[in-house]
Amino acid sequence: MKGKRIMSVILITIMVGLTIYYTLYGSQGWYDPASGDELLIRTWEHIKLVGIAEFLAITVGISAGLLITRPGLKFLASPVTGIANVGLAIPPLALVAGVSPFFGIGFRPGIIALFIYSLLPVLRNATVGIEDIDQSIIESAKGMGMSRLQIFRKIELPLALPVIVSGIRYSTILCVGTAAIAALINAGGLGEIIMRGQSGNFGSLMLQGALLTAGLAVTLDWLLSEAEEKLTPEGLKLGKEIE
């Protein structure tokens, strides 16, 4: 974890540093790089896209993912995780392009595309996190007289939590990347800067957008790794060390 922390900080510093460099000195005569103000606005848009889509994905994904592990709905668990796995094979570009004929272009269709895509890993991991718990643990909890709710709260949830958070982390990183593509349907965000640079064949502009997108992904990955570490029960961490 310490190694990851150091690497993340170094990477983020380099990316932000380079972005500042290109903002100040990236002019190529007839084209100017994006201004600091625009970068801030686009970054904020990007964060909004990811934040809203992720918020929805986490809310829906975790509730649905946990719900289908309950007795009575259990039969849904494996088809749903199957669909989620297949869904993740769809390239983000195809998904973004596929959403627009139905929902038009702009920020909202962007959110819809990102939501669908981010939902899958969250949903899958919530289900798998519960399903993968050793059945003898649940059996002994039941045999000792824990109610269903107690088993869920005290056994299943804490044991599944690291897997759930890791699903959120994966989904968020994926979402940051996909959000850059959402600029294709005018959703805004850092993708706009990249695409403008691309259409004008202007390297500085493309690099500004790309570096900030990557920086954002690395930052979120790092923060969520920290959360994952914090939320992993002590007894499970030890297990990993010993294995």
Binding site: D134, A141, M144, P233, L236
Partner: protein
């Protein structure tokens, strides 16, 4: 007391897992449900704490129909230990053991004290193990914690499904011994599931042998061995049932008590006289408090030069305890190459002597007495 009355389990697809089983388990008894896999032993056990719903019949626990109780309350009063143990990996040993006490609303302190007490009982140092996580324990230790956890709230009844099944034979053997000692102390009413005939004989007060969901024979282990009801039982207990009954009988069952002894302080001349007058070729030597000191053999006294006890006393000889199984006593005899062996009680006090002849006789007697016959022992 647990009473099963015409209990059946029929699954919706028509499979009859358990067919019309009736049996009673008295307080403080350890009843082994024994049988090949698929015989319905685990199903029968799980109907007692209602992990599997009963189809027909009744199960009474201390006179109360178990269907009338709240299922979670019922389970909290019945200890439950399974082969896979199922310790909660995210909780410490103490937290695991405190599961049921916690559910029953004990205070943190009470629960922790109980965990301390139970670890002590299971032969694990509480200070060292209380705050460890299951992953830090060895297989045998986990099994012990599993049993400790099932004893958490001191339930009068325990269900144990092959609780020593997943560990190596040596550890299993010592866990069985330890558990028998504990059981002698705590006197729980236990339903113990196993497919291992040797474990059943060792652990059981009574054995219920099941086959295809039916109860074939329900008797104490010695009776199961000596009087198998039919060919299935005979096959299941195996051709070596003589040996198995030796495992059941204890040194105290076959020993001669108050054998001839001489004091370690006696004069060598007295010893010679004693031997000649009682016409024996050996004497047991004890000290003033009756503690075993060694043997003196007549052969060693032949030379005239012997003039002190020390010279002829053989101290390093095998001995057995009162509760040693006859099979173990026999193997000590064979190992030490002796035909008689002292039986010692606490603090090495001599309780009696076990001879090869006694051994032979006792085994022979049980067989003729109980009508088992010898024809199948070959």
């Amino acid at each position: 007391m647990i009473k099963l009355e015409n209990v059946s389990k029929i699954y919706p697809d028509g499979t009859e897992a358990v067919r019309d089983i009736s049996l009673q388990i008295q307080e403080g008894e350890l009843c082994v449900l024994l049988g090949p896999s698929g015989c319905g032993k685990t199903t029968t056990m799980k109907m007692i704490n209602r992990l599997i719903p009963i189809t027909e019949g009744k199960i009474y626990i201390d006179g109360t129909d178990n269907q009338e109780l709240d299922e979670n309350e019922l389970r909290r009063d019945i200890g439950y230990a399974i082969q896979e143990i199922g310790l909660f990996p995210h909780m410490t040993v103490a937290e695991n053991i405190a599961t049921v006490p916690h559910l029953k609303g004990w205070t943190k302190k009470e629960a922790r004290n109980r965990a301390d007490e139970l670890l002590e009982l299971m032969g694990m140092d509480p200070a060292e193990h209380m705050d460890k996580y299951p992953v830090e324990l060895s297989g045998g230790q986990r099994q012990r914690v599993g049993v400790a956890r099932s004893l958490g709230a001191n339930p009068p009844i325990m269900l144990m499904d092959e609780p020593f099944g997943a560990i190596d034979p040596i550890t299993r053997d010592s866990l069985q011994d330890e558990f028998l000692k504990i059981q002698a102390e705590i006197q729980k009413t236990i339903v113990f599931v196993t497919h291992d005939i040797n474990e059943a004989i060792k652990m059981g007060t009574k054995i219920a042998l099941l086959k295809d969901g039916e109860l074939i024979q329900y008797s104490p282990p010695a009776e199961l061995l000596a009087q198998p009801k039919n060919q299935f039982v005979r096959d299941f207990v195996g051709a070596d049932r003589t040996l198995k009954s030796m495992r059941l009988m204890r040194a105290r069952d076959a020993m001669k008590s108050s054998p001839k002894t001489v004091s370690v302080d006696s004069d060598i001349g007295e010893v010679r006289e004693e031997m000649e007058s009682s016409d024996v070729d050996y004497l047991i030597v004890t000290d003033d408090s009756g503690r075993f000191q060694g043997w003196i053999r007549a052969a060693d006294l032949d030379g005239e030069s012997v003039d002190s006890m020390e010279e002829v006393l053989s101290r390093d000889v095998g001995s057995v305890g009162r509760e040693t199984a006859l099979s173990d006593a026999l193997s000590v005899m064979l190992e030490e190459d002796v035909a008689n062996i002292p039986v010692l009680g606490n603090d090495n006090v001599l309780e009696g002597i076990l001879t090869f002849n006694d051994l032979q006789q006792v085994i022979g007697e049980t067989y003729t007495e109980e009508g088992g016959g010898r024809q199948v022992t070959g």
